[in-house]
């Protein structure tokens, strides 16, 4: 089976792309580990247009239902993880290729075009102890796990919105929370900042560079140093939440398309990548704003561009043969 388009991912960009390729009657395959995208862990999303409040879980369900409603034209492989994308059967080198997507289950799927909407994953600190104590006090989902840190002293690393929200999640449970920030100012929304700053249980530590997470069976401490004075310090803690942004899931196409210094796929205003036939949208791209609504819009753009590309392919093939 040769699909018209293979969509890799299951977040807002992937969902929007699938809805539009379905309506264009393109034979579509969606390969994703899960639906919903990164905001699936959010308890209350307040900026998804048309919904004043919706949980990430409910939004994920709506995404999946919408994609599944096109059962006649859209096939879904989920949970399944794409691990490699290659260009195959090119008419000329790098020109009018088909693509093969290989998955963790060992399956291979072929498509005339690809829409990369695999999003991003959590960035890790990359310091000693982080892996060893993952799930043993090192945590990455404050909405999930904050209640488990009842009565403990906890550190949160990261001064963006995610870090601030982790502090808010922890306030009812932790006896004290440290907020460690690399720079000298908070970056998250003013309203959340104000709520945190006035709470006596929160201590904000600026210019903090984390060095090591210590523990025995569970986390017991965090070593860090002051970026300005270089002074080494240690905090006695029972848990640490890491909220320091994300890394694009672009590795599987890095040999085909142009990737920037941050690992983001470079796209133009048509959501086209540097490789003819591969389109990309959402947090995997170099779009400056990582937002559900923007990802959805860019997913639509990628779908319409893929449609245009497929029409062009049909036109071009006979002409190419005459050359």
């Amino acid at each position: 089976m040769l699909y018209d388009v293979i969509i890799v991912g299951g977040g807002p960009a992937a969902t929007a792309a699938a809805v539009y390729t379905a309506r264009k009657q393109l034979k579509t395959l969606v390969i994703t580990e899960s639906f919903g995208g990164q905001s699936i862990v959010s308890d209350d999303i307040q900026n998804w247009i048309g919904e004043q409040h919706i949980s990430g879980f409910d939004l994920a369900k709506k995404f999946e239902e919408h994609v599944r409603s096109f059962g006649d034209i859209v096939e879904i492989k989920s949970p399944e993880k794409a691990i490699k994308i290659s260009a195959i059967k090119c008419e000329r080198a790098g020109f009018s290729c088909d693509f093969e997507v290989e998955t963790e289950l060992g399956n291979r799927y072929e498509g005339k075009s690809i829409i990369m909407t695999a999003g991003a994953r959590r960035r890790k600190l990359g310091i000693p102890g982080e892996e060893a104590f993952n799930g043993k006090g090192v945590a990455y989902c404050s909405t999930c796990d904050a209640p488990l840190f009842s009565g403990k002293v906890v550190a949160v690393v990261g001064g963006g919105n995610a870090g601030l929200e982790a502090i808010i999640d922890l306030l009812p449970y932790a006896t004290k929370t440290y907020l460690l920030i690399r720079g000298d100012s908070l970056k998250g929304d003013e309203s959340t900042q104000n709520e945190i700053k006035k709470n006596p249980k929160v201590e904000i530590i600026f210019n903090a560079i984390t060095d090591e997470i210590k523990g025995i069976s569970m986390v017991t401490g965090l070593l860090y140093h002051d970026a300005v004075t270089n002074e080494k310090k240690e905090l006695a803690i029972g848990g640490i939440f890491v909220e320091i942004g994300s890394v694009p899931n672009s590795e599987i196409v890095k040999d085909l398309v142009k990737i920037d210094a941050f690992g983001q796929i470079v796209v133009d205003k048509f959501s086209a990548t540097s490789y003819s036939g591969i389109f990309a949208a959402g947090d995997i791209t170099d779009d400056p704003f990582k937002q559900n609504n923007i990802s959805a819009g860019d997913g639509v753009k990628a779908a319409l561009s893929a449609y245009g590309y497929l029409l062009q392919l049909k036109k071009r093939s006979p002409a190419t043969e005459k050359q």
């Binding site: 699936i40 949980s55 879980f57 999930c144 796990d145 209640p147 009842s150």
Partner: protein, 76 residues
């Protein structure tokens, strides 16, 4: 088959696991470790982990929601 799932009310992966059980007509017992400190200790003892969900299927412990693994264990 006895199945026990340790959850917190705001944990989306717990909801996914419970939905997966419901879809496959799997009976389970749920304990909320956000309020039940004894259950929290029991969960940490069993799994060595501070993270939910923890799922105990006849003494086999899984941490997190892994649909493929759960399908294997439950044979659904």
């Amino acid at each position: 088959m006895t199945i026990k799932i340790y959850t917190t009310p705001t944990c989306v992966y717990c909801k996914m696991a419970k939905e997966f059980f419901a879809k496959n007509n799997v009976q389970y017992e749920e304990v909320n470790v956000a309020v039940d400190a004894t259950a929290r200790e029991e969960m940490i003892q069993k799994s060595g982990q501070l993270g939910v969900p923890v799922i105990d299927i006849n003494g086999t412990i899984t941490v997190g929601f892994d649909q493929v693994k759960l399908s294997e264990l439950l044979k659904v």
